[in-house]
């Protein structure tokens, strides 16, 4: 049965897929436009296989001087591996590490900001007096809500670096370095 009106709804992709060994859709037989598309795709496929190519513009044999100049150090080989056609890992990895790093730093910053605002918020007593004005501020027992530990002698202990900041910073640096190496490698290839 000829099925012309509905051609717009027919699956062109399935017709193209049939050239790779997939099942030929029934529309190729029932719809003249789909049949024509199938025939055209086959013709193009055959033409691609048998197409002539332009002549090679020069002899590509290597010269002794070129091979000596082309000798690569381990560093150059490492750089060459970054961003090459075979390298499908470093880009997503570096972007992922940088995203994690930025997210971690933002989170750490928010946590610090939230801690500080919470501390100042809690610092206001029922009478509206600031914690700084409280005479018991040096007494650790009177300030259990403070994030910063206070030793019995009243000195404020210096907190160590936040592990989240360290890990985030490291992943940001590693990711950024990888991305930078990819750019350098790409520029070297483009210049050659």
């Amino acid at each position: 049965m000829v099925d012309v009106a509905s051609h717009g709804r027919h699956d062109r992709f399935a017709i193209a897929a049939a050239l790779g060994g997939g099942a030929v859709p029934s529309t190729v037989r029932t719809c003249p436009s789909c049949g024509a598309l199938h025939r055209d795709l086959l013709s193009i496929q055959v033409a691609i296989r048998h197409a002539w190519t332009p002549r090679r513009p020069r002899d590509l044999r290597l010269r002794r001087g070129d091979t000596a100049a082309g000798h690569q150090t381990a560093w150059q080989r490492l750089l060459g591996a970054f961003g090459s056609a075979r390298d499908s890992i470093t880009r997503p990895l570096s972007i992922g590490l940088m995203s994690l790093g930025i997210a971690g730093l933002v989170l750490a910053n928010l946590t610090v900001g939230f801690g500080a605002s919470a501390a100042s918020g809690f610092g206001l007593g029922a009478g509206g007096a600031s914690i700084a004005a409280s005479p018991e501020v040096g007494d650790p027992a009177s300030a259990p809500y403070l994030a910063t530990p206070v030793d019995p002698s009243g000195n404020v202990a210096t907190p160590g670096p936040d592990p989240l900041v360290i890990v985030s910073g490291a992943s940001l640096v590693v990711g950024g370095t990888m991305l930078g190496l990819r750019r350098i490698a790409a520029r070297r290839r483009a210049v050659r």
Binding site: W52, L62, A186
Partner: protein
């Protein structure tokens, strides 16, 4: 390494045997032996790469870069077909060139001179057929230059080089589904581009 090559691969095919001898001599630093390999394969490899990078000079640069890479990495050859090994290195070099073109676009796929088209050896010499074939090749190359690099690479590797989907996925570092999608969409794009010139390809 050389012992590995000798002990694990004793090909019956004289072409492969010849290639392996040239590789062994190249590993010993014999540049002339390597250049014999270049002479044997430069046309086939250029024909592959120029389909992926439709600019003769850039394609030639990519093939020469691939030969350099092969010469520098002779130790990485693990036996088997030398031609397949060189093919893969050339495909990588061509994909690197495609990426460089994206970053630093030069003249976008210049028209190739008519006299530069090269018939395959042994094809007929009927002038009319030659003219039709040259025109078909020129029109097809122009259309191929207008589809995406990824689609063109996948189509060339599948239709011309005869790699299967899985091999292309491995070579290009994408999934099987992506390879199929690139090939099928590329074919449909080619047909749309060539819609007005299809009479050249029929019959």
């Amino acid at each position: 390494m050389e012992e590995d090559l000798r002990s694990t691969t004793v090909p019956d095919d004289p072409v492969q045997r010849r290639d392996l001898i040239l590789i062994e001599r190249s590993r010993e630093g014999d540049l002339d032996a390597f250049n014999d390999l270049v002479t044997l394969y430069q046309d086939a490899l250029f024909a592959l790469v120029v389909r992926m990078v439709p600019d003769r000079d850039q394609a030639a640069d990519a093939v020469q870069e691939a030969f350099f890479s092969a010469f520098r990495n002779l130790a990485s050859f693990r036996g088997g077909s030398v031609k397949s090994w060189l093919n893969r290195i050339c495909v990588n070099a061509a994909m690197d060139t495609q990426r460089a073109r994206k970053r630093r676009p030069v003249q976008p796929y210049p028209e190739l001179d008519d006299e530069s088209w090269q018939p395959k050896a042994g094809e007929d010499v009927d002038p009319e057929r030659i003219a039709v074939h040259a025109e078909r090749s020129r029109v097809l190359a122009a259309a191929m230059a207008h589809i995406t690099d990824d689609q063109r690479t996948a189509i060339v590797l599948y239709d011309v080089e005869g790699y299967d989907y899985a091999e292309i996925a491995e070579m290009t570092g994408v999934s099987l589904g992506t390879v199929k999608s690139r090939i099928h969409r590329g074919r449909l794009s080619l047909r749309d581009i060539l819609a007005d010139r299809m009479e050249l390809f029929r019959g």
